[in-house]
């Protein structure tokens, strides 16, 4: 099939990006950033609390981790729910033992269904950020503006009603946004989202919303579930990342963020949880480390940027 000559038109070939959502900048030459206590690496642990309806929807798309077999998919429904019943409590214990504060990205339906879990998260002093309504609440540009606005509003209202906390952060399912999402999140009063993985420090969209990058490549889903490494190999990668960032921070006199996304049904398994707990205890003892919620990191960054 031949191509029209318009295929060789490059109307957005210009200095800077081919979009106006945010501006380019080089992390290595930015104004230095410092964290409280002059820690060099902010460790941003973000736990996803997900509820997968046994009736998946494929519009806009089926979320990663969703149902696989013909109905009724007891296997995946229950294996995911294991995370909310068991795995996450192991993680909460590990956080308490390491003395660290983290963020929980929570489907509104998880908060409505499992109030005891939310109470434990809050009692641990952790942050709750919004993570859509449930794992059917996906977003991309095929969603109409009114449907997307309704989804974001519904997720935020129900999460706040169920937790008593107004969330300041947002994580989209599979980090998938439409062209409108950043504006809709801003319109709903959110301070930050975690969907764009292009940086290792927070940055601002043109509309003022902040993005706190939450790496896919450093997530337990990518390393353990997709690439099929052991929890111990995952922990070694986190140590390698922490050591590199700590050294880079000293060399460049500017702090860094190490994002660590955790999934209760993955890293909360009995044979994996020790690797997580050992790593957290070890890193928390490092003088370079500042374990902080997303909100705390964003606030610290915004005060100096």
């Amino acid at each position: 099939m031949s191509l029209p000559d318009s295929y060789l038109d490059y109307s957005r070939r210009r200095k800077g990006y081919d979009h106006d959502l945010y501006r380019w900048s080089n992390i290595h030459t930015r104004e230095p950033v410092r964290w409280p206590g002059d820690a060099s690496v902010a460790v941003f642990v973000c736990v996803s609390l997900e509820w997968f309806p046994i009736l998946p929807v494929d519009e806009p798309f089926r979320a990663p981790g969703h149902m696989v077999t013909p109905y009724p998919d007891y296997r995946h429904y229950t294996a995911r729910d294991y995370g909310n019943r068991v795995g996450v409590f192991r993680m909460l214990e590990a956080f308490a033992r390491a003395g660290v504060t983290v963020s929980f990205a929570v489907n509104a339906l998880v908060a409505e269904r499992y109030p005891e879990l939310i109470d434990t998260v809050k009692a641990g002093g952790h942050e709750i950020i919004a993570h859509s309504t449930d794992m059917n609440g996906t977003i991309d540009s095929s969603l109409s503006e009114s449907d997307e606005r309704a989804l974001v509003g519904d997720a935020l209202n129900r999460l706040e009603a169920a937790t008593g906390v107004k969330p300041e952060g947002w994580l989209s399912v599979a980090r998938s946004q439409s062209w409108r999402t950043a504006d809709l999140l801003k319109e709903h009063g959110l301070a930050y989202c975690c969907d764009w993985v292009n940086d290792e420090l927070p940055w601002r969209f043109a509309n003022g919303l902040i993005n706190l990058p939450l790496s896919v490549d450093l997530s337990d889903r990518q390393i353990v579930a997709v690439q099929q490494h052991s929890a111990e190999a995952w922990a070694q990668m986190m140590r390698d990342a922490f050591d590199w960032l700590a050294a880079e921070s000293v060399a460049q006199s500017s702090a860094r963020v190490l994002p660590m996304q955790l999934t209760p049904y993955i890293m909360g398994q009995p044979f994996r949880i020790d690797a997580l707990q050992t790593l957290l205890v070890e890193l928390a003892a490092r003088k370079e480390a500042w374990f902080a919620s997303g909100n705390a990191i964003v606030k610290s960054w915004a005060a100096q940027s």
């Binding site: 191509l3 295929y7 060789l8 990006y17 380019w24 991309d140 969907d195 940086d199 450093l218």
Partner: protein, 303 residues
């Protein structure tokens, strides 16, 4: 190539035994070149009927921002580690990066890197192009890199590895010296073209960081071990006739904080080996072309 024939007739068969002996400058046995891909992926490219640019409706936030990491963070991390261990870059360049982020291109140029073309964008595919359109992207590449760096490109890696049956002939016609698009050998080989000469220089899919991490799912440490094993074998075989090892990279992959440390250790190991010739692609092509004028004093290579 032989269009629409079962055998594309890209090159002659040339068994990996009893080949002419090649000795790299300084008596080295393995020419090691590092090929950082400096790319620009568009957030909302037009659709080519032969290939969809993104898996998800635009904007594919993860796909786009994953690659944007190179141009904000990881390019410099990768480049610093290469420089620290004496490896220059031979850059596979989305030439529109010269417009979007000239800072990244200037950084490579300042480090003495060589640039070749990887198309205009990695989201504009050659599939379906007619000869005039394909000439236009080659001419655009030559002009754009010359304006940005003063260099005249000598090589090509097709954008997103998309070709037409005419690509290799056109490259030779425009005077380019090498292509990175063929994966049939661990030594340079002559490509059959309708006019001029074109060398196929070993690039690599198998030790490309994209394959290492996103096809084979290696850890950074496993990938570093794989590079060392690749080098050890090729350096040893190069005693018989000089071999080529390419390390194709993407900042957004190798420059992640959990991978860059082990990668630096692999470069340290390879650079310290006296059999390693740290070279740029053009230097390797020139040394290989010169072998006819400066025949090796050694006997024919045997294995």
């Amino acid at each position: 190539m032989n269009e629409n024939a079962p055998d594309p007739a890209l090159y002659d068969y040339h068994p990996y035994k009893d080949r002419q002996k090649i000795v790299w400058p300084g008596g080295k046995t393995c020419a090691v070149w590092v090929a950082p891909n400096l790319e620009y992926y568009e957030i909302d490219p037009p659709t080519n009927p032969h290939r969809k640019p993104w898996a998800r409706p635009h904007p594919d936030v993860v796909g786009y921002s994953y690659r944007d990491h190179s141009n904000r963070v990881s390019h410099w991390r990768m480049a610093d580690v290469m420089e620290q261990h004496g490896f220059p870059g031979s850059v596979s360049l989305s030439v529109a990066l010269c417009q979007h982020h000239p800072e990244v291109v200037a950084d490579g140029a300042a480090r003495g890197w060589e640039f070749f073309s990887h198309g205009i964008y990695n989201t504009r595919y050659s599939y379906g192009m007619d000869v005039a359109q394909e000439r236009a992207i080659i001419e655009d590449s030559i002009r754009t890199v010359r304006e940005a760096t003063g260099q005249t490109i000598r090589g090509w890696l097709a954008p997103a590895l998309t070709h037409t049956p005419r690509t290799l002939d056109l490259l030779a016609e425009y005077g380019l010296d090498y292509t990175c698009d063929l994966y049939h050998d661990d030594q340079l080989q002559e490509v059959k073209v309708t006019s001029g000469k074109l060398a196929s220089i070993p690039y690599s899919l198998e030790v490309n960081d994209h394959y290492g991490f996103n096809v084979y799912g290696m850890s950074g440490r496993e990938y570093a071990d794989c590079l060392i094993r690749q080098f050890e074998r090729l350096a040893s075989e190069g005693e018989y006739s000089g071999t080529v090892m390419c390390i194709p990279l993407h900042g957004y992959l190798i420059g992640q904080p959990h991978r860059i440390g082990p990668f630096a250790e692999a470069l340290r190991h390879i650079a310290a080996d006296p059999r390693c010739w740290q070279a740029k692609a053009g230097e390797i092509v020139d040394a290989w072309r010169d072998r006819a004028n400066n025949p090796s004093p050694h006997v024919e290579g045997k294995r």
